[in-house]
């Protein structure tokens, strides 16, 4: 009798698990599909333009800002990861360093944004600018890049390092010519993930990159405040554009524009996540073949 009850319970719970899993898959796909279809479905051609009425400029700002932030965070993050994997000796300082990185990675992005606002905008008497935004996003992506680099280095076979050192190379030469190239695919996966996160970042940019954008595509003077490539101009990103359209209905089409921004962001983020996933899958397969 008890056995029967247990079996029935087991069947019931299995059903519940299937239902929950199915429900979530459905919800996730419906969510992504809805955002993308609604955004592109309601878009008019002028909304894609690189003018005030389109989101082209915001799109450019998003990509440019993430690019700038990676230029800053990738070298520093990789070096920090190398320090942790190859130089740091286990002890109190390394333990503290790990807690610091953990702290950095779990900081609310708005707090990092405020820090950026204070240090890069208020202290330097600057206007909102892309470069400050890029610095704030760089701070947010540093822990991810540093930890993936460390993991990538640690997962390499010991023989790589031993072989190179045995040939008489110094640790620096070994790292640059042997370990770093071998660890590169994994690090790149981390960087792609960081870029994907950067695209969607908004809270950290609120008080750093600013909420306006004014690009004159015929001006290529880097010092001009309307030159696209000038990093010291205000630059509203797609994510900020969505935030801005929540209340201030700037035009009759503000909702449509925000829908389109969401859809474009969604596509960018999904593409980068998928890319990272495929890359990781490939690395895993290669490692499997070697082992």
């Amino acid at each position: 009798m008890r056995n029967k009850v247990n079996l029935a319970k087991d069947k019931f719970m299995t059903g519940v698990f299937y239902a929950v899993a199915g429900f979530f898959l459905l919800l996730l796909f419906a969510f992504a599909g809805y955002v993308i279809i609604k955004g592109f479905g309601g878009a008019k051609l002028y909304m894609f333009s690189f003018t005030r009425s389109g989101i082209g400029n915001q799109f450019f700002n998003t990509v440019y800002l993430v690019f700038l932030s990676l230029v800053i965070s990738v070298p520093i993050g990789i070096m920090a990861g190398i320090y942790m994997a190859e130089y740091a000796k286990e002890g109190k300082i390394t333990k503290f360093l790990r807690i610091c990185i953990e702290t950095l990675s779990s900081l609310p992005s708005i707090v990092v944004g405020l820090f950026g606002y204070l240090v890069f905008i208020v202290a330097t008497h600057q206007q909102w600018n892309l470069f400050s935004g890029a610095l704030a996003v760089a701070i947010l992506s540093l822990p991810l890049i540093a930890t993936t680099t460390e993991d990538a280095f640690r997962s390499l076979p010991d023989s790589y390092k031993k072989g190179s050192i045995g040939m008489g190379a110094t640790l620096r030469q070994t790292i640059i010519t042997v370990l770093l190239p071998a660890a590169a695919p994994r690090i790149i996966t981390g960087v792609i993930l960081a870029a994907g996160r950067g695209f969607g970042e908004a809270a950290a940019l609120l008080y750093t990159a600013g909420m306006s954008t004014d690009i004159n595509w015929s001006s290529w003077n880097l010092a001009s405040p309307t030159c696209a490539l000038n990093p010291f101009r205000p630059g509203e990103t797609l994510a900020l554009n969505i935030w801005a359209s929540r209340t201030e209905a700037l035009g009759a089409d503000a909702t449509q524009i925000a829908n389109l921004s969401s859809a474009v962001l969604m596509v960018m983020v999904l593409a980068f996540s998928l890319l990272a996933h495929v890359l990781e899958h490939r690395i895993r397969r290669n490692m499997g073949e070697k082992a």
Binding site: N6, L7, D10, M13, F17, Y18, V20, A21, F24, L25, L28, F29, F31, I76, G77, M79, A80, I82, Y83, M84, Y87, A88, F96, C100, E102, T103, L104, S106, L107, P108, S109, I110, V111, L114, Y117, L118, I139, S164, M167, G168, A169, R172, Q173, T177, V178, R197, F199, G200, E201, A202, L206, I242, W243, R246, A258, S262, L265, V269, S273, H277
Partner: protein
Amino acid sequence: MTDTAAGAVNRKNTATAEQMDFKTKEGIWKVLVIACGLLMIILPLAIGAFLIYRGGATFTKYGHSVLKFLFSSNWNPADDMNGGGHVGAAVYIVGSLVTCGLALLISVPFSMAAAIFMTEIAPKTGNKILRPAVEIFVGIPSVVYGWIGLTILVPFIRKIFNLNQGFSVLAAGIVLAVMIFPSITTLSADAIRSVPISARKAAYGLGATRWQVISGIVVPAAQPGILTGIILGLARAFGEALAVAMVIGKTRSLPKSILSPTTNLTSAIASDMGGAMEGGEYNAALWSMALLLFIISLLFIFLVHFVAMKGAERNKK
């Protein structure tokens, strides 16, 4: 690749000028690596120091008590350097706590079920479809969640509950729940997966059903890891700013029910910091909120370590 390294070493032995060059290169490299490592320590410390410096002004320069800031709901800071206003942030703090609590209540059961499904019930489908899908959804920007919440969820809640407006604790809770679901699920699944197979086999061997194995053996064994996932999810929910700000209603009153609008710490900072005078009392009070957020996120990290330590102790026994 090792050839070039060995070649460099050979060259080093032949030329003294190059040897000097080589030595400086090694030196610069080492300094750079250590500097980057140190930067990871300096950054969070600097952020903390600045927050204490700016957020502390509320309590030092403007002379408010910490207890009043935390527990009074009288919020009326002066937007100038003279001060004399009230900085009771209780409404904001309660708003943050209530929305995050609700988000956890909604997402933890679902996350647990999804995590168990992809590890214990259907590992193949779980690993091939559910896990990648969940991982991809970790990266969806929070503003997109907020925007969908604003355009779909808020009107929906208004309609279904016949309210004047749909901005509510419920809307914020749901948006946060959807946001933190993927992180809790992946971390819980990792924890469940690391429970040794032998524990399961022993239980099955004794005639236990799958549900008995899951509820009696696997989940209790994975508890520290699951708890870590929940804490990190909570930390993410606590720090989330814009998605919540878009659906919470930003009404400065304590919520009467989950259907009433309120406000929270992050949305106050996000929407009011730009308008507050630099260095004024209002500005300082907002910085104190940011400091509070910083302290709370430190607290979460401490909790994670505490849980991990307890888990390790338990496993030793």
